[in-house]
Amino acid sequence: MATETHTDPPPKASAAPVMAPRAGDRARELVSKWGLWAILLALPVVYAIKDLAAGKGLAPIAQNLLAGLSNGSIWALIALGYTLVYGIIELINFANGEVFMIGSFTSAALIGTLGLTLTTGPLGLVFGLLVILVIAMVASGSLNVMIEKVGYRPLRNAPKLAPLITAVGFSFILQNVGLLWLGGSPASVPDLIHAQQDVFTVFGVTVQRADVLAIGITVPLVIGATLFIARSRLGKAMRATAQDPDAARLMGINVDTTISLTFALGGMLAGAAGLIYALYETTIWYFQGFQAGLIAFTAAVMGGIGNLRGAVLGGIIIGCIQQISDNRIGPDWTPAVVFAFLVLIMVFRPQGLLGEETREAG
């Protein structure tokens, strides 16, 4: 009896403290789930209200978002490279941004080689650009595979920071290659597609040729890459290796080849982004890869690293943030704004918007 009465109260007493953290946990969960969305929406909403108050309507902010969409699709392509590689070997392939830069440089060189000029007819232009796209993708893909073979494969069983450091090293080497290739100042690329020319205008939002090009190349590539990973045999091998390399090896999957393939795919997407960037911005320089790499990495983390849809979503969101910041806060501050978002994501939701699909998280 005595023991019964003695044991009864404690659960009751502890019930309240247990409940309280639960409510706190729920609040924290809520903040972690929606807090990031709130932060992301803050920028466009604030400026939209400001525009409305100034009587300018919603067209300016919509224009920003459209530019963000097309600009962000370039980041999305690069972010896919980060997310694929991180998903499979849990390494931030720091050199991915530089692979993208080399893709741009290759494209610019090929434009000269193939003799594409402002006077080339539309048919020749489309054909020429397709050839350049393929070559740039192959070049960037093979470069990425080579980096993996030389820099990361020997270190696969080393402490995790070792391959990250070689990745930084490769990033610097490639930047230097770019510096020697085209010099230290931005080089211009012929404006083959007349990027600034308007195509049509809807509700005061002008769609330019550059937007059409960026979205028109990105969408098929992303669909192709997703289908490849989801449907093909090699894609299945990639997913299996990402989940558990040892088990995949036991099941007869050639893990080394699969990892090489992942790097090839990531590099090819970065190469395609390189061509789009060259035509879109019409200037290229050796430092573009470093900036783009960080932005795209932010995008990949924002979406949830290892998650393909997340990388695309993150790329587009970062593109929008960047455009709004460029237009409203000033381009000088854009890097700081983007990095501030990176830090905020890391603090509030390191698993990203859509949740990450990696071994450690799962």
């Binding site: 849990e90 390494l91 931030i92 030389v150 820099g151 020997p154 270190l155 080393a158 402490p159 995790k160 920071l161 070792a162 391959p163 990250l164 450091i165 070689t166 930084v168 090293g169 490769f170 990033s171 610097f172 080497i173 930047q175 230097n176 290659v177 510096l179 020697l180 470093f290 960080l294 990495f297 932010t298 983390v301 000088d332 501050w333 890097p335 700081a336 990095f339 501030a340 990176l342 830090v343 890391m346 603090v347 390191p350 450690e360």
Partner: protein, 394 residues
Amino acid sequence: MTTTTAPASKPARPAGGRGSLLPPWFGRFAAVALAVLAILLPFTHPSSTFLGDCIIAGAYVVMALGLNVVVGFAGLLDLGYVAFYAIGAFTVGWFSSSFYANANIHILVSGQAAKLPGIHVNFLLVLVIAALLCAIAGVLIGLPTLRLRGDYIAIVTLAFGEIIHVFAINGDAIKVFGAGYPLTNGRQGISPVDQIKLPFIAQFNQLELKPWYWLVLGLAFLVLFIVIRLRDSRLGRAWVAIREDEVAAASMGVPLVKTKLFAYAAGAAIGGMSGAFLAAYFNTVNADQFAFSFSIFVLAMVILGGMGSVWGVVLGAITLTFINYWLIPDVLNGVPGKLHLNFQLSDLGFGIFGFLLVFVMLMRPEGLLPERRHQLELHEDVEVEDVLWEEEHR
């Protein structure tokens, strides 16, 4: 086995150890001899370019020792170390120049600086302020990384480094304390800053480099002493424990948050002191000095020397400084031209450092003078007893 090797037989070094050719007192003797040589160096080599390189090397030794606390001891890869260089340098810009000409504050200064308008604080005080500010910044940057895993830490610190770089470039538009007080002077730089004036010593100037050399040497010795004492302390062991296995360390009672933040704070404070010295020595605080490549430059010193190894990092810093400031621009710069190539070797500066990072990581991941415990992790032929013996007798 363990009972037979009684404590009495300690000094007998286990046979087959790598460094067993040298007697046990050799290390200390070599350190003292090198220190004496370093102090006497300006008398034998008064040439100003060489001495100038030595001064920069000294400042980089301090910088690399600080980064080594974070990366080498605690295993937190910090890619934004340049932030502390920037904050340390700006401390000099803010508190020891005529940049804020509207203010008229003089604290413990004499000589020319006492007559100029602006805020002028004695350099030793500035050094302390720089260390404190950087320690605070280090904790602030460290806080968001506490929950993150290794490679994410690298990216967050990189992001902070870049944010501070952007603030340094655009800071001329930020006026927190009113119109006459911008945060920075952007790309133009805050220049000139006060030349150092220490008690009982004449004013430093750019023509006479010896005082600068001895000052930085003193700073390096001080930091070296602090870092070695830290390494062998309870805190140092906690850092190594976290580096090797965070979960195991936590379950043995190592307070993760406090220990990691101490590492960030200590590393940052040391970097800040070096940054303050470099700002005074270069006589300018310019936003372009604080680029990402500087972080990698210092990281390359730590990695080349051997992560976690104090003497290795000193060697790495001196080696890379002389490669960067002497070997590449002065000695080998014309070599590609002689081979009829259309570039100069100094164009390859950071490519060479990138190559060094890759090369060292692939060929000798433990660095030039490895820390034994780290070597144990990377090579199978190093004996555990060998390492333990060395840790007891250093």
